[in-house]
Structures are given as structure tokens and as C-alpha cells.
């Protein structure tokens, strides 16, 4: 396996040397980094659309992570960063969509769907005919004669 090591060594070295240029540029404090991660976790990766920007390994997600860190380093508030993102990509980029006219149905559906179901069930049970009225004396006599 020595040949493998000889082959791998230069590429490993190259990777190590390339490391710093891959890293996100600005140096952030621990708190700033935590804030950047929190923001990135709320943003949809536009390539792997069910992953957040923090989770995704797509180049575009890395680009967005880089920009978030630049903005955090520049002292932008979370709200400013979110606004910058939604100005470009709309609410689509938010993994937690805001409550507005377009998302109304999305948000009220958990209440609406059971309510409609319950309404239908109640309506159906009310329409169901109740038990037959008790027999009159004449009917009882007739029944008795028939059963004899």
C-alpha cells in the first residue's frame, strides 16, 4: 500500500494548503458564529430545497453562509439579514414562512381541517334517523297475535 500513500500524500498536502481559502472569510466571535448558524438554519438552500443553508453542502449554500458571516461581522441585525435575503428570494427562502395572505391557508389548515371534518361528522349523525317510536297498544296487540 506504499504506492497509495505516495500517491495520496501530495493531494492531501494540496488539500491542507487549500484549506484556508475554503474557510469562510471573516473571523467571528463564538457568539457571532452562533448567530450566523441560527440565521443559516432558518434559510432554505435553493439547490437542495429541503435542507437549510447550514446543512447543505451545495456551493450556493456555502456562498450564502459566507455572505451571512460577512453581514454578521459588519454588525447587521438578524432582521436586516433576513430582509436582505427575502428581498432577493422572497419568503420562499424562509424555512419558517411568515403569516400573511399567501400563507393563510397553510397556517389555518391544522385548525380548519379538523373543524370541517367534525362539522361533517356532526351533520351526518344528526341526519341519521333516531330509534323508532315505541309501539302503541294496538300495535303491541297486533304483534302479539302475529307472533302466536
Amino acid at each position: 500500500m506504499r504506492w497509495l500513500r505516495i500517491l495520496l500524500a501530495p493531494s492531501l498536502l494540496a488539500l491542507l494548503l487549500a484549506g484556508p481559502s475554503f474557510a469562510v472569510a471573516p473571523t467571528l466571535s463564538q457568539a457571532e458564529e452562533a448567530r450566523a448558524v441560527a440565521i443559516g438554519s432558518q434559510l432554505r438552500c435553493l439547490v437542495c430545497q429541503n435542507e437549510s443553508v447550514e446543512q447543505s453542502s451545495a456551493t450556493l449554500a456555502a456562498n450564502i453562509r459566507h455572505i451571512i458571516r460577512q453581514q454578521v461581522a459588519a454588525g447587521w441585525t438578524n432582521r436586516q439579514i433576513m430582509h436582505w435575503m427575502t428581498a432577493r428570494y422572497g419568503d420562499f427562502i424562509r424555512l419558517d414562512p411568515p403569516f400573511n395572505r399567501l400563507t393563510l391557508l397553510l397556517w389555518v389548515m391544522p385548525v380548519l381541517a379538523p373543524a370541517v371534518g367534525l362539522g361533517i361528522a356532526l351533520g351526518a349523525s344528526r341526519r341519521r334517523p333516531g330509534p323508532p317510536p315505541p309501539l302503541s297498544d294496538a300495535e303491541k296487540r297486533r304483534l302479539a297475535s302475529l307472533l302466536e
Binding site: 435553493l46 456551493t59 456562498n63 450564502i64 455572505i67 432577493r88 428570494y89
Partner: protein
């Protein structure tokens, strides 16, 4: 069981009705997708109608780069095209860009997440349709413009307002139906 209450019948028909409506909707989506009128992966871009965002792209030989200020006072509307040498649809749309160049539409290229040698090979193979060209190796310009992949194209009017965006490769049909009329309108 031959007598089903008249009020129960609509209830029985509801699931069937829902399945029919859902089915028609699904077929409609498939048809639109096939005709290219619907793409489930499309990411909205809200930049249309707004000024070109603050950005700058550095040199990408033979291009020398450009920035927001360069796109603010133009003699003609400019087509800004994000592309990359590693992007297959970008190779596919290259002949169309060469044709647009020949028709006098200025095209400014932004080479996304790419390297200079690879760009050189791309331009040598497919031609260089770009009046100006810049490189965006870290994708800072790409995100500033709100792109979600390559290729994407924008039409910028003479005063630097984004008038049109396409999140897909250009096609002859889209160029003649959408792009050319807008180039004339804002020309």
C-alpha cells in the same frame, strides 16, 4: 341497504370529487411542465423592477470585471448572464448568446464559481459573446443578484433597472417571445 339517504349521497361522492379535481390538477401540472410553462424547482427572484444591487466582479481574463456603477447609464439595454464553464446548460445556450451578440444585444457575463483556465477553455470552445466579463469565484455577486443556479439571465434597462429575469437557460422561443420585445421596448 337499497335505500341510501339523500343527504348521505353527497358525502359519499366527496372523496370521488376530490380525487377527480386532484387528478385534473395533476394532469394540468404535467402538461405545463412539458410545455415549459411550469418548473417545480423554480426559485422566485424578486429583483425585477428594482435597481441593479450593489455588487462588483473582478477580472476574469479576457474580461476586466465590472460593478453596479457600470450598469447605471447605458447606451442600450444589457443582458447580464450568469454562467460557468462547468455548467452543461451554459454550453447549450452559448450559440444563442453568440447569435444575440451578432444581432447587437450587449451581453455582460458573470462567471460563477469558476477558474480562469476552465473559463479560457469554455470561451475557446463556445466563443466569447460577452462585451464585458467578470468572475465571481465566491458567489458574492450571485447571491446579491438572487440567483439560485447557472445559467440565469437579467435584462437591465438604460437607467440600471432590472426589467426581466430568466432562471432557466435561454431558448430560441423565450428569446423571440420575451427578450427581444423587451430589448426593443427599453432600447
Amino acid at each position: 341497504m337499497e335505500r341510501v339517504g339523500i343527504l348521505r349521497r353527497p358525502l359519499l361522492l366527496m372523496p370521488l370529487g376530490a380525487a377527480v379535481v386532484g387528478g385534473i390538477g395533476f394532469v394540468e401540472l404535467l402538461m405545463r411542465a412539458e410545455e415549459g410553462r411550469y418548473n417545480p424547482h423554480t426559485v422566485p427572484n424578486l429583483m425585477v423592477g428594482h435597481a441593479v444591487p450593489p455588487f462588483s466582479v473582478g477580472a476574469a481574463p479576457p474580461g476586466t470585471g465590472f460593478s453596479t456603477a457600470d450598469l447605471q447609464h447605458l447606451a442600450k439595454p444589457v443582458l447580464v448572464n450568469f454562467f460557468a464553464s462547468w455548467c452543461v446548460p451554459c454550453h447549450a445556450e452559448a450559440p444563442l448568446l453568440m447569435q444575440l451578440k451578432a444581432e447587437g444585444v450587449p451581453i455582460w457575463g458573470i462567471d460563477y464559481a469558476d477558474t480562469e483556465p476552465a473559463l479560457g477553455r469554455f470561451l475557446a470552445a463556445d466563443g466569447n459573446p460577452f462585451a464585458r466579463l467578470g468572475g465571481d469565484p465566491k458567489g458574492e455577486a450571485a447571491i446579491a443578484w438572487g440567483i439560485s443556479g447557472v445559467p440565469e439571465s437579467f435584462l437591465i434597462d438604460r437607467s440600471g433597472i432590472i426589467r426581466w429575469h430568466l432562471g432557466d437557460p435561454l431558448s430560441p422561443a423565450i428569446v423571440s417571445a420575451q427578450l427581444i420585445p423587451l430589448v426593443r421596448k427599453y432600447g
